[in-house]
């Protein structure tokens, strides 16, 4: 055993639903390194990490932590041993304070009836946060913090646990550039202190900026481990998908047609004001802007999820009064939410039932669902969108993120929309599946559908949009043509 390694894993295997999620996976993690774990969705990264923090028990394989074999299989035991995870969906108790969250479950040594010394905990929390160089009050209620601040608190929590291995799953997905920089400087600090970090992200530039070593998984199998310096974006993608991708974005195929949607002076107090734009059949309108610029809020308003205070919405020249999502869907507007779990699908329903949910009356005679027609439609859509599932009766909660996204898109498409609003359509989705979503967008466009695509990823906005609407603090600051748009111009308008 190499003493440099703080954590070594080999032969790790785990099956779900008769499918091997992990097959003989290995990992060697050094002290004080940032080790990126890369792979497409469904490659087994999440399962692997869940085993490391004791959420799943492996079928076989060995895990050695600081030289001794790990047999523990419970989250609290793994925490005691020094392995912590910062989850993609941040797990906090919103009504408790920062300090209370940091020390949750470890408030005293006296068990359930021990006396909590809030003062002492607040002091300890303040010291921790200070060491990290972040200015968050230990007594602030968690719910008033920004996502970035919540993440810092999670890291503080891990450190207070004396974590020697911290797993970060998509830690930057909701962070601004400035916040990412803060996070990275904290990570570098942690490295200095000998903490090893397993870093999971789909953002290539980040991976190359922060990681020392990269391990690639594909289809649940271990592919390779290499120093980050020996890889390029292209060679890494090749390892991840097992093939070469010549371009990140497919060639556009749409032809601009008639005006589909026109929005005039749309306003919602405190969220956005005076938004005016139109979208044509066969084009992609990108909406860019920083977090909180009002992008999602505009989409929600057009789709009838939130009310607007003033302004007009026209679809194919006809003014619409949209009060509910049902109105919007009936009029031909489809919305794929950024909040896939919250608004996208019903986890306990099958792929088939989710796909037909918005168009169920089309598959019913009177009150009764026509099983055959429904199944045929679902089968076709599953094949069409290449949804990877054990069958159309598989519950959507068991699918990978990318496939869940496809189910949601399938549902929206079945309601035959003229306009589709895609809000962060590739968030948390890996490269290969991203490319498929892009191709899908192009297909929609060439079928004459108008597309609005909201995204935080500038390369995606630039690669996919025909025109780009830039928002800043609820106001539109620019409407750029493809020729005018560069990352720099968009950013300059976004911080206007």
């Amino acid at each position: 055993m190499n003493p440099d390694y703080i954590l070594t894993v080999h032969g790790l295997t785990k099956s779900f639903s008769g499918v091997k999620a992990l097959d003989q996976v290995q990992l060697n993690l050094r002290k004080g390194e940032v080790h990126a774990l890369m792979g497409e969705n469904g490659a087994g990264k999440s399962t692997f990490m869940k085993i490391l923090i004791g959420l799943h028990t492996p079928d076989s394989g060995e895990i050695f932590f600081e030289g001794s074999e790990l047999k523990a299989s419970h989250v609290s035991e793994m925490l005691k041993k020094g392995i912590s995870m910062i989850h993609q969906e941040i797990l906090i108790v919103p009504e408790l304070t920062v300090a209370q969250n940091i020390f949750l479950g470890r408030e005293t040594n006296g068990g359930l009836f021990g006396w909590i010394d809030e003062k002492k905990l607040n002091q300890q929390a303040a010291v921790l946060l200070e060491q990290m160089g972040v200015s968050i009050s230990p007594t602030a209620k968690m719910k008033y913090l920004s996502v970035a601040e919540m993440q810092m608190v999670e890291i503080a929590k891990a450190l207070s646990n004396d974590a020697r291995v911290i797993i970060m799953d998509e830690p930057t997905s909701a962070l601004s550039d400035k916040e990412v920089a803060t996070l990275f400087s904290i990570i570098k600090d942690l490295k200095q202190k000998g903490v090893a970090i397993i870093y999971i992200s789909h953002k290539m530039d980040e991976i190359f900026e922060i990681s020392d070593t990269i391990t690639v998984l594909r289809d649940g199998k271990y592919i390779d481990t290499r120093p980050a310096a020996d890889l390029t974006i292209n060679s890494l993608i090749q390892l991840m998908v097992g093939r070469e991708i010549d371009s990140l974005f497919p060639e556009p195929t749409g032809h601009k047609g008639a005006e589909i949607l026109s929005v005039k002076n749309l306003s919602r107090a405190g969220k956005f004001s005076d938004i005016t734009f139109e979208v044509h059949a066969g084009e992609v309108l990108g909406i860019a802007g920083l977090m909180g610029a009002g992008r999602t809020e505009i989409a929600r308003a057009i789709f009838g999820l939130d009310a607007v205070d003033s302004g007009e919405i026209y679809l194919k020249g006809k003014q619409l009064i949209i009060k509910t999502p049902q109105d919007a869907i009936r009029q031909g507007i489809g919305y794929v939410s950024e909040d896939r779990k919250g608004l996208g699908f019903i986890p306990g329903l099958s792929v088939k039932h989710n796909i037909t949910l918005s168009s169920l009356p089309n598959h019913a005679r009177g009150l009764f669902i026509q099983d055959k027609s429904e199944a045929a439609t679902a089968t076709k859509m599953i094949a069409d969108l290449r949804i990877k599932t054990a069958g159309m009766d598989q519950k959507v909660m068991y699918l990978s993120g990318g496939n869940q996204q496809k189910v949601v898109i399938g549902k929206v498409l079945l309601a035959s929309p003229d306009l589709v609003i895609l809000d962060e359509p590739t968030r948390g989705i890996d490269v290969g599946a991203k490319f498929e979503i892009y191709k899908l967008i192009n297909r929609l466009v060439s079928d004459g559908i108008a597309v609005i695509m909201i995204s935080s990823e500038l390369p995606e906005i630039l690669g996919m949009s025909d025109r780009i609407l830039v928002l800043s603090q609820g106001k539109q600051t620019a409407l750029l043509s493809k020729a005018e748009a560069t990352q720099e111009t968009i950013m300059s308008y976004a911080v206007h």
Binding site: G18, T324, R386
Partner: protein
């Protein structure tokens, strides 16, 4: 591209998880059969046609209530008012069921209307006020009990027509009418849940309400229908009860809502919404009936029966949650 084109390796194989779930779903049925087996060994009287007919007849009222409350629980709600709806229906139906007054359809429709109205009232308040269903139906429970006492002036209404008493006390081809009513309504409710748009929407609303709304489902409409339906089924249970005891009884149905909810939960309906089946609920109701009948036959007093029933309810939910965490 080939790894993306490829469909799932095991697409032909039935998923493992579905199989485990399958066992879980049949678990309650297996438990039911085992208990029946034990009872038929312990008390020879249990496994006789006449006793079984008695059991199912007794179960029918609770089962009807449980069907209704299953709809409600699947949408993520709860209805505590059904016991009181039974009482209101009982009184209203009895008022129109005296001999030589109205044809038998009149008390049935009057009772049904009363139940549907109270159910619709629940639905209306829940959808318009956003007050939790627990609170709203708790209020309706008290209102209903009061209405029943007001309408009957606090006294039981007896002297009902023979044709009305046939509903709960008669036989068709040797089978007690409550059993026939039970079977018919079981089929109707199963079809509603599994085969209709409404049923699918119930699962969607209970499974993830915001996503159901974003999918274009009118939440209020679904909830309105579901609570009204539940009130209607409670009314049918009330009519059945009134006819069986040949009396309109304002004090009828006290605590019935709890037995009905218990039957749904024993039958695998999740209290958090989104899952549940009518078959499960029916077996849940039968299980409760069989156990109480078996304990009767073994001369166990009703005091002990309540303890046993409570243990079974908790046991069923514990088993269900163990089954879920295993996955």
């Amino acid at each position: 591209m080939e790894n993306l084109l490829k469909t799932d390796r095991n697409s032909t194989q039935k998923p493992y998880k579905t199989r485990i779930r399958g066992i879980g779903r049949y678990g309650i049925f297996i438990a039911f059969m085992l208990i029946c087996l034990v009872l038929s060994v312990v008390t020879p009287k249990f496994l006789t046609v006449s006793n079984l007919l008695i059991v199912v007849t007794q179960v029918s009222i609770n089962a009807l209530l449980a069907f209704g409350v299953t709809f409600v629980i699947i949408t993520g709600g709860i209805d505590l008012s059904i016991g009181s709806i039974v009482a209101v229906t009982s009184v209203v139906a009895a008022m129109f069921a005296h001999p030589d007054s109205y044809p038998v359809i009149v008390p049935i429709l009057a009772g049904l209307a009363a139940g549907l109205l109270l159910g619709a009232f629940n639905g209306l308040v829940i959808t318009k006020s956003k007050v939790p269903p627990f609170i709203v139906t708790l209020g309706t429970m008290t209102i209903g009990r009061g209405l029943a006492l007001i309408l009957s002036k606090g006294r039981p209404i007896s002297n009902l027509s023979d044709s009305f008493n046939f509903i709960g006390g008669g036989q068709l081809a040797g089978i007690p009418t409550p059993i026939i009513i039970l079977i018919v309504l079981f089929i109707v409710c199963s079809v509603v849940l599994k085969k209709t748009v409404l049923g699918r929407y119930m699962y969607a609303v209970g499974g993830n309400e915001p996503a159901a709304r974003a999918s274009g489902i009118q939440l209020n409409k679904v909830k309105m229908v579901v609570y009204t339906l539940c009130g209607g089924l409670a009314a049918l249970a009330g009519i059945l009860l009134t006819s069986r005891i040949t009396t309109g009884q304002p004090n009828a149905g006290v605590g019935f809502e709890l037995d009905a909810i218990a039957a749904a939960i024993i039958g695998g309906t999740s209290t958090t919404g989104g899952t549940g089946t009518m078959t499960g609920t029916l077996i849940g109701a039968l299980l409760i009936g069989v156990i109480s009948n078996g304990l009767d036959l073994m001369n166990v007093t009703s005091y002990y029966q309540q303890v046993v029933m409570g243990i079974i309810i908790i046991g069923a939910v514990v088993l269900d949650s163990l089954n879920q965490t295993k996955n």
